[in-house]
Amino acid sequence: MEEVKTLKGNSMHYCTGCGHTIVHRIIAQLMDEMGLREKAIASAPVGCAVLFYNYFNMDIIECAHGRVPSVMSAIKRVHPDKFVLAYQGDGDLAAIGTTETLHTANRGENITVIFVNNAIYGMTGGQMAPTTLPSQVTTTTPKGRGNNFEGGPLKVCELLSVLDGPAYIERCAVDSAEGLKNTKEAIRKAFQCQLDGKGYSFVEVLSMCPTNWKMDVKSSIGFIDKMKEYFPLGIFKDVRNER
């Protein structure tokens, strides 16, 4: 593999086939290409990506569970000329941190949020996430989601796209070579959106968690197709040219 300056180069602790590894690489490649490393401040979220700072060679702040958007809003306001990257999982962003997510988007903070949606709580061992699919079995939905008033999967791109604040919102998936390419282009646009001062940019990435989905890597890639039924890919908002 080519050397990526934004990564430290040490091996990552993620399970084989984990989507976090792929998303990390995409982010790091883009930061290299766009020359962002030295002006960046990123978040480490509570979740499997909490050790983000062990892999990324840049300034990083580890935040309390769900509070990434508030912390990063403040950092961007203090350093408007720096590049501020919020990285979050689904439990972090769409359960405990829903308030922070909604209001940060609504304020139109000029930050970029990368949302790794793996439909599960990875780090704590496979409990239901706000994005867990109907009937999906988790350690806290033993009969499948939907049997005990758990509601349905929270569609964050759709929710945020009705707000005035965000400038760019897209959902992608890292389940194929083409998916990787699209994800990279989406994140590139989101990064550029911030650099151009257009405001809040958000990229959701449907991402594999073979370990807690209790699947082999190949089946976990197949499960992303099921996720797409509830989480259609595409651009949900793009008002960059109107700003």
């Binding site: 508030s70 912390v71 990063m72 809003s73 403040a74 306001r77 590049f83 209001h103």
Partner: protein, 353 residues
Amino acid sequence: MTEKILMKGNEAMVHAAIKAGCTFYAGYPITPQNEVPEQMSALMPKAGGIFIQAEAELSAINMIFGASAAGVRCMTSSSSPGIALKQEGISYIAGGELPCVIANVMRGGPGLGNIRASQADYFQSVKGGGHGDYKLIVLAPSTVQEMYDLTMDAFDYADHYRNPVLILADGITGQMVEPVELKDYKPILELPSKSGWILDGCKGREPHVVKTLFLESDDRLTKHNIHLQEKYQRIKDELCLCKEYKTEDAELFIAAYGITARVCKEAVDAARKLGYKVGIIQPVSLWPFPEKIFAKYKGKDFLVVEMSCGQMIEDVKLSLECKGKIHFMGCGGGWYPDTEQIVTKVKEIYGRS
């Protein structure tokens, strides 16, 4: 001396913060401290700083976590129920050794309580509040001038020790109007450079990481705790703010802080006219608690007066090693002491002993 201006205690904190170079404020409305976010929203942008009305106290304290890590002097304020919500963030800020100033303009509790002044958040402030072994520097103003002075000093204590500082005020001190001298800012302590840890992009240096998770080895977090405890010990050795009033010949010592100490002062004057030799010890730093000052009077009779059901009394007892008679007067829920009640209590104590 510069001229004095009439203002509320809450407003005095805003002026002091801005004079001290605070350039970031985030908060959420709650009575009786609304003048703080309101004045900040007007004055902070004028001073070139940032004001954010957060969507909740939890978000506000996490904005402070971010702003402090980004390297600026920052402040948030609230009142009891809102400060309870901030406890998560306060633990992270203390664990990450980030300087900041937090003001609690206390009101009645528990629960939604009421909006009368109270001192019932003492335990929360000085004993912990959030999770883990950490300490806040806690300062208790009793006049509007002290709301100004202590807020200004709080930024220096925070930066000097890399520790959050809590201004523990109450609804009366926040709302009352008194003349204040808006003194210019001059650092009272050495202010270490922040360049070794702040987050502003790693150009020309190694990356900085602000974190509170320590998994590197089994004893890594223990070592961090030992480091924090050593810092807290240093603060205890160096910081002791306390006022004494007519203690030279006193037979009975009243211990009170904040607005309560002021009421007690009037009561002491009245009691002395009746021949009772009463004095006051008024802790201003509630953590570190002025143990040494109390220890001087070990074995004497004490009356602790608080607008709570008895919280600071525990630190008074510890400082006195429970020697002598230690009486209590106080209640929670918005009860205020008045001079007459205190004098009656003094007479009662004398009658008994």
